[in-house]
Symmetry: C2
Subunit: 531 residues, 2 copies
């Protein structure tokens, strides 16, 4: 009976598929990274906006194209129809529309977003994941906000102590212009754009095949496109394009190229230009972009095979087998009950999920990218017709940034802003038979150390073997032990022991101090250690 109950419970003892619990080192990392990012955002004078986790269904409706099917809906329990937020961009636009008196806005948001996608845990694709956005809204001098957002991206990765990343940069207007110049028919612009977007994963020949065979493009048009979209570089590429008469005669391309020049000038001022790769193959999936687009790729994001903190198995070490098995089966169909209401694979994901492919139409994070964004000038108007509120922004994929940081730490890299979650001092009590455990004395010392701002701990039982106490202190990574004994207590003394001193060190076994000098002594040891 008890056994049957247990096995019944075991089945439900898990978190929902595609989600994870954050704790331990991962939470320390999450908070450290979050704090670094927020400090940069504050220097840029962005203000936090925290919107509800759900929105009216109508607010999200028609904003994500094909991906709308990935939205989590809430059950109709009477009253409003609600959905979980899919990103931070649409709630920001909704909020801007609700505040028509605002001329400009610099806002940031850090929170979780929800996508009823096929989880691919090894690639860090979760159904609930952390995202961090910064967006600037309002009319400004051309490319000023764009350049400031990109400089902010550079500052974020500087604050995260990352090197070896590239900001791929392009402009929708240049892309559309060059397609027109090459002879792509108006109605094929978006679909050809999405084919070009795959050039970072597929060789040209395959992309061409898709254009010609699947999408019915003239082969000669495809060949012309090739002469453009295989080019990337910096200012020199821009100069080449400026000499391209055909391109400069196309109004869209001309405008895009002119503003790209302005952008690069500003980026040089921001000392951000050397991080840029002007890449004519970058297209980005989302329809709503209207100008500059960008995506941050990093050496690390390709190199990390199993992003540890983003996997459910890794994050929950002592988890019963049933829980981890279900959670880890990332390629199992969503609907185990044969419902036709499951998540359909998107067309471009028809291949086996085990291939190293990622979703390139993800509005947040592109192929192997850790951040992505662009200019979207018409979204607010969809909520408030007539609104003139052009926007530009970027989303950081926090889960992925953490996964890569963790993988780099595992290889020995160190990050100055990630501090161990240390217990400063561990209080022990030691005595013979009949020993009380000195419970109340330990409380006094705990209270005094915490009052002095220290992070202190003791064992929570009346008595424990000294060895067990040292184990607990060790697990708490405490550099200092405070050891109470009845004899010492009688003399008004207590022992302070710095952990890990070498054999033969004069203070190896600790030093006795007067009870009233304890706090100062512990602080002195910690200060010495922190130097």
């Amino acid at each position: 009976m008890a056994k049957e109950k247990k096995s019944k419970n075991k089945e439900t003892l898990k978190n929902p598929k595609g989600t994870r619990d954050w704790f331990g080192d991962d939470v320390v990392l999450l908070r450290a990274i979050r704090r670094q990012i927020e400090t940069v955002f504050e220097k840029y004078r962005a203000q936090e906006l925290d919107t509800p986790v759900f929105e009216l269904q109508e607010v999200l409706k028609g904003k994500y194209g094909e991906d709308s099917k990935l939205i989590y809906d809430l059950q109709d329990q009477g009253g409003e129809l609600l959905s979980l937020r899919y990103d931070m961009t649409v709630p920001f636009a909704r909020w801007l529309a609700m505040n028509p008196d605002m001329e400009t806005s610099k806002r940031y948001a850090i929170g979780k977003v929800y996508r009823r996608d096929q989880p691919a845990i090894s690639k860090g694709r979760m159904r609930e994941f952390w995202q961090c956005d910064i967006d600037f809204a309002g009319e400004t001098a051309p490319m000023f906000n764009d350049s400031e957002i990109i400089s902010c991206v550079v500052k974020i990765f500087e604050a995260l102590e990352w090197t070896g990343y590239t900001i791929k940069l392009n402009d929708r207007r240049i892309l559309d212009g060059l397609f027109e110049v090459c002879g792509v028919p108006e109605d094929k612009l978006r679909t050809i754009s999405s084919a070009v977007d795959k050039l970072d994963k597929l060789p040209w020949e395959e992309v061409k095949k898709e254009m010609v065979e699947q999408k019915g493009l003239d082969e000669s048009v495809a060949d012309k496109i090739r002469t453009y979209v295989t080019r990337k570089g910096g200012k020199e590429l821009l100069e080449e394009l400026q000499k391209d008469e055909a391109l400069m005669n196309n109004p869209k391309a001309k405008k895009g190229i002119e503003e790209m020049e302005l952008l690069m000038r500003y980026l040089q001022r921001w000392k951000a230009l050397d991080k840029i790769s002007f890449d004519l193959s970058l297209a980005r999936g989302l329809d709503y972009y209207t100008g500059v687009i960008y995506e941050v790729v990093t050496e690390g994001s390709a190199g990390v095979k199993a992003p540890a903190p983003a996997t459910v198995e890794d994050s929950t070490p002592p988890m019963p087998p049933v829980a981890s098995t279900e959670s880890a089966s990332s390629d199992a169909p969503v609907t185990s009950n044969g419902s036709t209401n499951g998540v359909p694979r998107r067309p471009k994901e028809k291949k086996k999920a085990s291939e190293d492919e990622d979703r390139s139409d993800d509005p947040t994070v592109g192929v192997g990218s850790v951040a992505a964004g662009g200019r979207y000038d018409n979204l607010v108007e969809r909520f408030r017709p007539g609104a003139n509120m052009p926007c530009v922004g970027v989303s950081f994929g926090i889960d992925r940034i953490i996964a890569i940081t963790k993988a780099r730490m595992a290889k020995g890299e160190r990050f100055s802003y990630i501090k161990p979650n240390r217990t400063d001092a561990y209080i022990m009590a030691f005595g013979g038979s009949g020993f009380s455990g000195m419970f109340e004395e330990r409380i006094d010392i705990l209270a005094a150390l915490r009052e002095a701002g220290l992070r202190a701990e003791t064992f929570s039982k009346q008595k424990a073997k000294l060895q067990k106490q040292f184990q607990l202190a060790d697990r708490a990574a405490a550099p200092v032990a405070v050891i109470l004994g009845e004899d010492e207590q009688a003399r008004g003394e207590v022992k302070v022991k710095q952990m890990g001193l070498p054999d033969g060190h004069p203070e190896k076994d600790g030093v006795l101090v007067k009870a009233e000098e304890l706090v100062a002594k512990v602080q002195a040891v910690l200060e010495k250690l922190d130097k």
Copy 2:
């Protein structure tokens, strides 16, 4: 046509009922309070746990009794059946059950929870609200964890610089024991307990009436109960009870009284005893409590009539009328479409919602309380039969704490940890006709100031009238203006002006400094100001 479109959009331009957007001063407050709380939690060596916003429906099922109807379910879109979390306690117990190797745990959690309740915005009762929990799990010496949690509550309110609050304290075992001694039949224990819990809102005569007339209790039994539950105090009340032979002969009451003595001894050590009111009328709604229970009430929580930051209207000042009207109609029925699936009023809430009554069976926040909790020793076992994982914890109602703090600030109280969200320096440019706006020079200065760690800003247009620039600097609360001019620029100089200097002050109009000395000069002005 355009007009029709607009009015159609207007209807949906709102956030979901009972939710709000957090921004501006409220976010500053939220973060300041959150950071204070987290610092205390870290001293107590609690580790953060961040669980998904939804859980499997089975996980939440049967954990909240009557309140289960307030749980938000997700739509069945194929796959798992999910619900939004109702509190942090059940997800913690689920996580503990999934980690059977853990002997003890000290965890904290800060996040939003969801209750499909009737919103009462003026009372800060939202459908999505911030909650902050700390819970200790695992077997310890009797009352050690209980005393440490209560001392943590004291330290939190100390860190928040609150005075004038009381921690009401009782024990379920004492309460059940005294009901038994008075002659309450076993099957009426819980219902009589819930009647007693109303004594902080209703006079004794009404509570008695409920017991006798509605619940069929003997009048003599009710009168005996009165002799106990109208008593509150400190150690002296405990001593009175210890002399009460009838009570001490009841095993439950005896155990509870003995442990209450121990708890008070420990609380004295923690210097927390003077915040305690041992209150025999405190019962708390939730069934799962098994020992000590407590609730923090504050003078402020009764005094605050309209908790500003918790209202949707106040937090979104320039909101279109339609949005605020719907959001503010807190007493409108949940189901506007006549669905029978709406939220039923709970029996004890049959009165008009406009009365100043609050839900006393709220597991988080009781009557006018800002924090509440207790010991629950059997919850983990419901997820993992055989588990021996006794728990004790407390939840803080962050929204309400913010509302009260804000109201106190409005009355002139100051809190040292709440720093204004200041822009350190505002960059301006000033010139005559044909003036370029010195765009790129401003970027240089912005970049240099931010590089030095300062929070700097400029206006984002090419040119603006000086008056407009001063307005923007003023709105950014910037104490320093950096003013660029073409003549000064030609001499390699820039003007630094401390804002708000009195007329006649020698530096009223600013001082010219060499461009390379600018950052140091701005820092010097700020340092002088911060002293």
